[in-house]
Symmetry: C2
Subunit: 340 residues, 2 copies
DNA sequence: CGGCCTGCCGAAAACGTTTTCGTGAACGTA
DNA sequence: TACGTTCACGAAAACGTTTTCGGCAGGCCG
């Protein structure tokens, strides 16, 4: 009759099993596997071999219980559906994945009570930290200063300046777009963008105007065209711009959706892009931008990098004193064919 | 001098603190909070009050250690970027959220070794179960039968029929689309779809052909137009279909991206949609479908429901014997204006 | 040979719960 | 009064680790 192994008994392998197989105590087994110095090389090897043989994997719950570190963080998003959360989430997950920390995903669906509920659950699970990623780039209410773990706000900054928030540099993004158009010889640049109540819309417009002013240029189309973040608005606004300034030679759109509408309207007017009018979007939403006709140049917010940065800052805050303030992440140009 | 509370000491509140404040033992405190019967009503009330006063939240790690249930599940996606994972993930998160289980999110980025790595980590964390959501609707390698926890495969079925997989009913989706077109009096229906190596493309086409055959109709455009999942292909294929069958009165596109291309090409030929040609897409990818001109009718795969179902099946499997096989989730029509 | 240091190892406490079991009190019954 | 039963409650074990500390060899020095 075979000697019964832990696995064959349907039990999950524990450190005790490894120790017994290696002929050492539990304490030594633990030290051997954790690279503690006070164990002979030969013994360590024996333990490791035993662990592999049993395919031992340590119970992180027990580890967390004693070390007071769960090795987990909470990712509290208020809107999974919104496409901006996802890249941030990917970046964060990526940055953590390389370490040995796992990520709890919670979607509050923009509901405050659901958020509270998730927060409670996460704290109960003794997460080592939290990343809160918002749905829109404007400030959101802080979770409070009395939390037992550090918190990083990503995309939506916290309304409490004592918290650490990571946000997109929308002003810089606006500058970048206009700078690119100017460098390609455009002089009569219009700006069509989304909802004026969005801070991001204001910031992008401001950046654009700043860069124009530096060059001594005025905005074409008489004004910044605020509206909604939709293709339909892009089409409509384009027609109005063309009416005011028929010789416009570039349009900076506040989002890729709007830019698609702009392209569509320009086609209808038989204007060549980028021959007669250059177009640049914002977001680098690939399915929209890359499939446009012609493929759309656009500004990328580097959201994945923002997510990775959030993870790094969270780590720093977990063992160190927490920092407050707002940190911005720069944008980058993605040049395709609509602006060459 | 104030009596020192646990919080003021910077310590996290434990059951011991609650018990002391309520003047009972730890055991009784535990029983009181867990609605065990063997505790006097008055005592229970006192304990609960103490717990609230200290805003006690039980350490789930300790709970999990002893109950052998961590109350967590792993969500192992192979491709977060792909838009199909997200709704499934939302559905699953939603279904779990109402219960007291939390979700670990892991993105393998389509990499097998990363997947193995995440799997190890999840098992180490003693998750109670796993949901594996794939990137494309074709079969993927099973994680194996020897896992200590139940696994549900969502979207991509496992290649091992002993596993339980949940997939979209693509055949039904194809039928649904064509049925809708027929009901609206269309007789010359063409089908333009994506990569022929995708099982989903084959299935949708099969469903469409079945439904046509039932009506005694033939496919317009001489063949099923397989190609790629892109707008460009939609444009190109539409031109070819028009060349073959100038009087086509409906086009069923295998995806919304393709449908956008179809619409674009029809506009260029000055054909009215839906007056002369009806168009229906697949996926209900809102930003594409709702913003199209005219807004695009399409087939929705009910992915959120699929995610919720996966969560339910996982629960059933956690305490019950695991079931195998493939279960399909039906599609539904989303009627907008392109097909009326 | 006695003392001291060094190198390895194991016993045991600790983390914060749940759960089993024992115990004392109160009560009813013979 | 003696005895069994029920009712609340507490002591202690258990979950699977990490870490502190003490002990036992063996080697070196005086």
């Amino acid at each position: 009759m075979e000697p019964e192994t832990p696995q064959s008994a349907g039990r999950v392998v524990t450190l005790r099993d490894v120790a017994k197989l290696a002929g050492v105590s539990i304490a030594t087994a633990s030290k051997a596997l954790n690279n503690q110095p006070q164990v002979r090389a030969e013994t360590r090897a024996r333990v490791i071999r035993a662990a592999e043989q049993l395919s031992f994997s340590p119970n992180t719950l027990a580890q967390g219980l004693i070390t007071q570190r769960s090795g987990t963080v909470g990712l509290l998003t208020s809107d999974l559906e919104g496409r901006f959360s996802i890249p941030i989430l990917m970046g964060a997950e990526d940055a953590f994945g390389s370490d040995q920390t796992s990520v709890f995903l919670c979607d509050a669906r923009g509901d405050t009570v659901r958020e509270k509920h998730h927060l409670r659950a996460l704290l109960s699970r003794r997460v080592d930290g939290l990343i809160v990623v918002g749905a829109r780039p404007d400030a959101r209410p802080s979770l409070g200063r009395e939390l037992p773990v550090p918190v990083i706000y990503a995309y939506s900054p916290s309304d409490d300046p004592a918290d650490l928030s990571l946000v997109t540099d929308n002003v810089g993004g606006g500058r970048l777009a206009v700078d690119h158009l100017i460098r390609h010889g455009r002089q009569r640049i219009a700006h069509i963008t989304g909802d004026a109540t969005y801070g991001a819309a204001q910031d992008r417009a401001r950046g654009a105007l700043e860069r124009l002013a530096e060059e001594g240029l005025e905005l074409a189309g008489e004004q910044v065209w605020f509206g909604s973040w939709s293709e339909a608005w892009g089409r409509g606004a384009t027609r109005m711009v063309l009416q005011r300034t028929p010789d416009v030679d570039a349009i900076f759109a506040g989002s890729d959706e709007i830019a698609r509408g702009v392209l569509d309207a320009l086609h209808q007017e038989d204007l060549d892009v980028p021959g007669q009018v250059a177009v640049i979007g914002f977001d680098n939403w690939k399915v929209l931008a890359a499939n446009a006709r012609p493929p759309l140049s656009t500004v990328d917010m580097n959201l994945e990098q923002l997510g990775r940065l959030a993870a790094q800052r969270l780590f720093a805050a977990i063992d160190g004193k927490p920092k407050g303030g707002v940190e911005t992440v720069g944008c980058r140009l993605v040049i395709r064919e609509s602006s060459s």
